[in-house]
Symmetry: C2
Amino acid sequence: MPIQNVLLLGATGETGGSILTGLLDAGHFDIKALIRPSSAQKPEVKDLLKRGVKILVADISSPVEELEQMGIVTAAKQVGIKRFVPCGFATVCPAGAVMRLRDHKEQVLNHIKQLFLPLTFIDVGYWYQFSFPPLPSGKIDKYLPPGMNSKMRGDGTAPNLITDLRDVGRFVARIVADERTLNRYVFAWAEEMTEKEIYSVMEEVSGEKLLVNFVSAQEIEDEVLDARRLFEKEPENQELFGRMSSAEYEYSKYVRTDNRGEYARYLGYLDARELYPDLHPKKFWEFVQDLLDGKVRRPYSGVQ
Amino acid sequence: MPIQNVLLLGATGETGGSILTGLLDAGHFDIKALIRPSSAQKPEVKDLLKRGVKILVADISSPVEELEQMGIVTAAKQVGIKRFVPCGFATVCPAGAVMRLRDHKEQVLNHIKQLFLPLTFIDVGYWYQFSFPPLPSGKIDKYLPPGMNSKMRGDGTAPNLITDLRDVGRFVARIVADERTLNRYVFAWAEEMTEKEIYSVMEEVSGEKLLVNFVSAQEIEDEVLDARRLFEKEPENQELFGRMSSAEYEYSKYVRTDNRGEYARYLGYLDARELYPDLHPKKFWEFVQDLLDGKVRRPYSGVQ
């Protein structure tokens, strides 16, 4: 396979880290990571160099997130980038006031499209790493994302696309080397599971009986309305933005049930599992086994 | 072919009228036209009955245009409509503040998608009927759309998708009976022509030498900014909305050059000419001959 040049933004982040590993493992990418001057001396960046990644230190004036991608898109057009992969990497969700986070991405997508810049938009569902409840024994508590508890939303039967964060990069390495995905949306996923099924797998693999706290659809809707109201009063408050985004994720995933393969196909996404039938992503039960074996890293823990 | 039920809104309008004829000619549609009580006694509606169209008189509270489609979309979901074709039928243009008219359609599209309602979005380029300059002899002046003159934008080399209004319905009859177009965007078109080519065909068919008034890209951009500024001051003023929309059409068609097949494909549209290679839409030169032969109706003239 010919060597493909990639400029990666956010290489030291969670999704970026998985993508970096996926690209390195694929072996046919020449990777440059774009790093801000203020981060150039960080140990994570030194680690990138050790892994054979070239570092491009550039003064991008604002953080590389959602709306701040606009300037980068324009620059990408100017230098003739062959394919731009904007920040997606989340659950399947329609544009238009369901999730504010998704709408920010839509603005970037519109900007890309207005520039006639080749693109691929990739969603990956929700991470396994953020989709499991605690075990009563406390065995896996250190891997729990902050705020995670024994919640089950609605009656626990809403299916959701979920993927091991470690598989995101494997999918991306295939998708960005594939002409079929040019100017298309793609959803990568490992399982489409309900919370009931997730709890059942957890019990089976761990041998423990799980606690369940039901949260009604009404409670989820109320929290969305509350969180939006609070955020609108203080639109600069990042904590309130985070609370609203969490609430909107729950609403989209469990009340609207957007994050499903059938809906993704309706929205025009290609199915990465159909494109790459030989790519076998980790099953959820294997992930639970990894949790019990201490082989999982907790996202945002600062440890790579 | 099995009989397909169609509920048509706007059947007495320009695009709706072409669609109605296309559906009737296809012969396998059972057509109901939705008519407001205030229009039920109009001669155009009586004419529909004569043509075998059933009339459904319903009190839709607001005009069937852009944003007002929202309620109809929701109703369509409730009654289980198998495919919703929202108002498109215009030039290819990206969402996101290029054309206000297009953005209204995007809001309807988002609403449809949020409801998981099967859809097909159809654009048809610009009508032949609105794409020709006058002849110096004045022969075809009665067919000229209001405000049409001998303008040529930029250097006259921007290609645009154009279609005879009379062919819109022929395309629609094929598209809505086709499983391949379900949940897809489709562009129907007859020619992709520059203004230079349009002028040249006009001269060839008419034997007359045309006048040309060049309008620079800068003038088009200035007019967009002016028109937007004026509209923003009086957002309820329909005349100013019309002026802004005209200016945005010119900007999108001749400065951005959005209304092209290559760009439509990039945006994810299917090409109706590829889907229906046996459908031969009227060529522009044939339309010009029709103009000279007095066989063309001027849109919005009140004559069917």
